[in-house]
C-alpha cells in the first residue's frame, strides 16, 4: 500500500515495475491514468477549451484520505499491491494527473478495486481543480456523475 502526493510527474512504467517486482502472486494488474483533457465537455454546464489546470489540495488531509481509501479497497478485495500517485500544482493539457494501480491474483478483483479507488478518490480526497480557459480561470464544479459513481460502492446498511 503506497500513497504519493507530489507536484512532479511520475513514470508509469517505473512505478508499476516497483509495485509488482518480486511478487509472483499477482496475476492481474489493473491501472488507471488520469490526464488533463484539452476539451472539457459537460452538457448544460460549460464547454470550454482547457489549456491547463491547477490542482489545489489540502496537505496532510490529502494523504490521510488517500490512505483510508486504499485501506478500504484492501479490506474489500484480496489485493497484493495498491498504489495511488496524485499530483498537485499546474498541469497542461495532455499531462498525467493521477495513477492508480492494483495488483491481485485475480483480474476481476484488480479491475473492481481500481475502479473503486478512482471513484472514491474523486469524491473523498481534498483536491480542487482550477481550469485555465481562453475565457479565464474557472473552478471546476463537482460532477454529479462522480457522486453517482462513488455512491455505487457505498455499503448497504
Amino acid at each position: 500500500m503506497t500513497v504519493c502526493v507530489q507536484e512532479a510527474d511520475f513514470d508509469v512504467g517505473a512505478e508499476l515495475a516497483r509495485l509488482t517486482d518480486g511478487n509472483k502472486r499477482i496475476g492481474g494488474l489493473a491501472v488507471f491514468v488520469g490526464l488533463v483533457r484539452e476539451m472539457h465537455v459537460r452538457e448544460g454546464y460549460h464547454r470550454d477549451k482547457v489549456d491547463a489546470l491547477t490542482l489545489e489540495h489540502y496537505p496532510g488531509m490529502t494523504e490521510k484520505a488517500l490512505e483510508e481509501i486504499e485501506a478500504e479497497a484492501n479490506r474489500r478485495w484480496p489485493l497484493e499491491a495498491t498504489l495511488i500517485v496524485h499530483r498537485y500544482g499546474r498541469m497542461e493539457a495532455g499531462e498525467r494527473i493521477v495513477l492508480v494501480a492494483v495488483g491481485s491474483p485475480h483480474r476481476e478483483a484488480a479491475f473492481e478495486a481500481c475502479e473503486f479507488l478512482v471513484d472514491w478518490l474523486k469524491t473523498k480526497a481534498p483536491f480542487w481543480k482550477l481550469e485555465e480557459t481562453p475565457a479565464g480561470e474557472k473552478w471546476v464544479g463537482a460532477h454529479e456523475g462522480d457522486d453517482a459513481a462513488a455512491a455505487r460502492w457505498e455499503k448497504k446498511p
Binding site: 488520469g34 490542482l55 489545489e56 489540495h57 489540502y58 496532510g60 488531509m61 490521510k64 484520505a65 496524485h86 494527473i97 493521477v98 478512482v118 478518490l121 474523486k122 469524491t123 473523498k124 480526497a125 481534498p126 483536491f127 480542487w128 481543480k129 482550477l130 473552478w139 471546476v140 464544479g141 463537482a142 460532477h143 462522480d146
Partner: protein, 83 residues
C-alpha cells in the same frame, strides 16, 4: 483554533487561514460557521447558508453537527474535484 479555507472559498474569504478564538457557546462546526460569518462580508458570502461547501475537523471530513471540543484545525472547502 486554526481555520483554513480552500479553492474559491479562500479567495472569497480573502485569506487562506486564520487563528480564531470563538466563545464557549460555539460547540459544533455549524456554530462555528454562523460565528465566522460575522467576521467580514467575504466570510458571510463564502459560508452563506445554502452554499455548497464541506468541512473537516483536524483533517477528517466532518458534518456540521460534529463537536469542536479539542479541535486544533477546522477547514472549509467546496466539493472535491480531483482525480
Amino acid at each position: 483554533m486554526k481555520v483554513r479555507y480552500f479553492a474559491w472559498m479562500k479567495r472569497t474569504v480573502g485569506l487562506p487561514e486564520e487563528e480564531v478564538a470563538p466563545p464557549a457557546d460555539v460547540t459544533t462546526v455549524g456554530d462555528l460557521i454562523v460565528w465566522l460569518r460575522a467576521r467580514s462580508p467575504g466570510h458571510a458570502e463564502a459560508l452563506a447558508e445554502g452554499a455548497a461547501f464541506g468541512a473537516a475537523v483536524d483533517q477528517r471530513t466532518a458534518t456540521f453537527d460534529v463537536k469542536l471540543a479539542g479541535a486544533r484545525e477546522v477547514a472549509f472547502f467546496p466539493p472535491f474535484t480531483g482525480g
